[in-house]
């Protein structure tokens, strides 16, 4: 029996008459039965091999599509990356411009503020070394001296309570003046960020400079 006939029999392509004849031959011929069985098993194995190869090819297509999609996403990512960099660059440049404007504003504002460093009785509230350094524009030295003065603890040798209370008030006033002077020094130095923090601190305190501090904050 030729292979074409077996193929036609197994795939149901034979006519009714042909099929009946083939079935009869199969009943009578053991060798033909074996031949048909082997043919069918080989065809099944071929189909299984084809099916697996088909799925592998399909998977390669899926992988290629996923790769292409990832590439597109990556390209989109680059565009976003560049845009982000551009925006960040603008912000940095803008930040510098803003910073410079603030430095100038704080500096010129502080130059226009006079520091009244004497009491009603003509005495000095803060050490004259500090005020002279401030007036002569030695701002680093001014800050160093202020820092030292700020570290000094309250001391009163007078045993009288009223005198002690007075000394305490004077000590507090000195500290308020030191802070105001420090703020003005920083403003003149252009350290506007630190100066603003101190202005806020003074504005929120009971310091006699709280109104000046608030005014400076409002204007700056």
């Amino acid at each position: 029996m030729n292979q074409e006939s077996i193929d036609r029999y197994l795939t149901g392509q034979m006519s009714q008459q042909e099929r009946e004849l083939f079935d009869k031959q199969l009943e009578e011929d053991v060798a033909l039965r074996e031949q048909v069985a082997l043919h069918r098993d080989i065809v099944t194995s071929l189909k299984l091999k084809g099916a697996k190869a088909h799925l592998q090819a399909l998977e390669e297509e899926i992988a290629a599509e996923q790769k292409a999609a990832a590439k597109q996403r990556s390209r989109r990512g680059w565009v976003w990356g560049w845009l982000t960099c551009a925006v960040a660059g603008c912000l940095v440049i803008g930040g510098f411009i803003y910073h410079d404007a603030k430095v100038d504003a704080y500096r010129s504002y502080a130059m226009g503020v006079s520091y009244d460093y004497t009491t009603a009785r003509g005495g000095e509230i803060v050490d004259s070394q500090i005020t002279s350094a401030f007036e002569s524009g030695e701002y680093e030295k001014t800050l160093e001296l202020i820092e030292k003065a700020e570290q000094r603890a309250f001391v009163c040798d007078d045993p009288h309570p009223e005198q002690q209370a007075q000394a305490r008030i004077e000590y507090e006033i000195e500290r308020d003046h030191l802070l105001w002077l420090k703020t003005l020094t920083l403003m003149r130095q252009g350290e506007w960020w630190q100066a603003r923090k101190l202005l806020k601190e003074i504005a929120a305190s009971e310091s006699e400079y709280r109104e000046e501090a608030q005014q400076a904050l409002d204007e700056l």
Binding site: I42, L46, L48, A51, K52, L55, L58, I62
Partner: protein
């Protein structure tokens, strides 16, 4: 395409139905296996392909028919086969050593309408012979039996002068394969190589 349509189309040799079945449950199957297996995607995809081919085999051999869909869906059968293949993998020495499994898993027997069994020695011999096929036999036989192409199409695609030349080549290949397999089976029966 519905489950009965897929079974009918695959039984008739429609590749498109088989492709649709594969694509339909691919992502879901990967997610299902990942619950108990932490190995690579390539291993899971290979497992899914083997499950699809096993389902295909049961359809073309008539073990899975439209009538059996009253018990369970095609997806249930497919995932059941896949899970049992995963258990085979789990029990293999290689994977036990690699500790790729998150939990202990066991076979599912009750959901399948057929008995899953290892291929017979005869089937192994035939599959090995088919796997070893070289060109031009590999292409011409796969085009005819898997892709179901006509001799006219095969002649055009493979560069034969005419359909008769392609038919002669196909017949030679099939005869060669049968002779080789018969010899191998006779050797096995006579106990040679044992």
């Amino acid at each position: 395409m519905t489950d009965p349509q897929i079974i009918r189309e695959i039984a008739e040799g429609n590749q498109r139905a088989f492709t649709e079945l594969y694509n339909m449950y691919r992502a879901e199957f990967i997610g299902y296996v990942r619950k108990s297996f932490r190995g690579g995607d390539d291993t899971i995809i290979d497992l899914y392909q083997d499950a699809c081919v096993a389902l295909y085999e049961n359809i073309i051999k008539g073990r899975l028919t439209v009538e059996q869909l009253t018990h369970a869906s095609l997806k249930t059968y497919l995932f059941c086969i896949g899970r049992n293949k995963l258990v085979d993998m789990y029990r293999s020495r290689e994977f036990k050593r690699r500790r790729d499994f998150i939990e202990n898993i066991d076979y599912i027997h009750d959901k399948l309408p057929w008995q899953e069994e290892e291929p017979s020695e005869r089937e192994v011999v035939i599959r090995q012979a088919v796997a070893k096929m070289t060109e031009p036999c590999n292409t011409i036989l796969l085009k005819f039996y898997w892709e179901q192409k006509s001799m006219q199409e095969i002649a055009q695609e493979c560069g034969y002068n005419n359909p008769d030349s392609a038919k002669t080549q196909k017949s030679k290949c099939m005869t060669k394969l049968k002779v080789y397999i018969t010899k191998q089976l006779q050797r096995d029966e006579s106990g040679e190589y044992r």
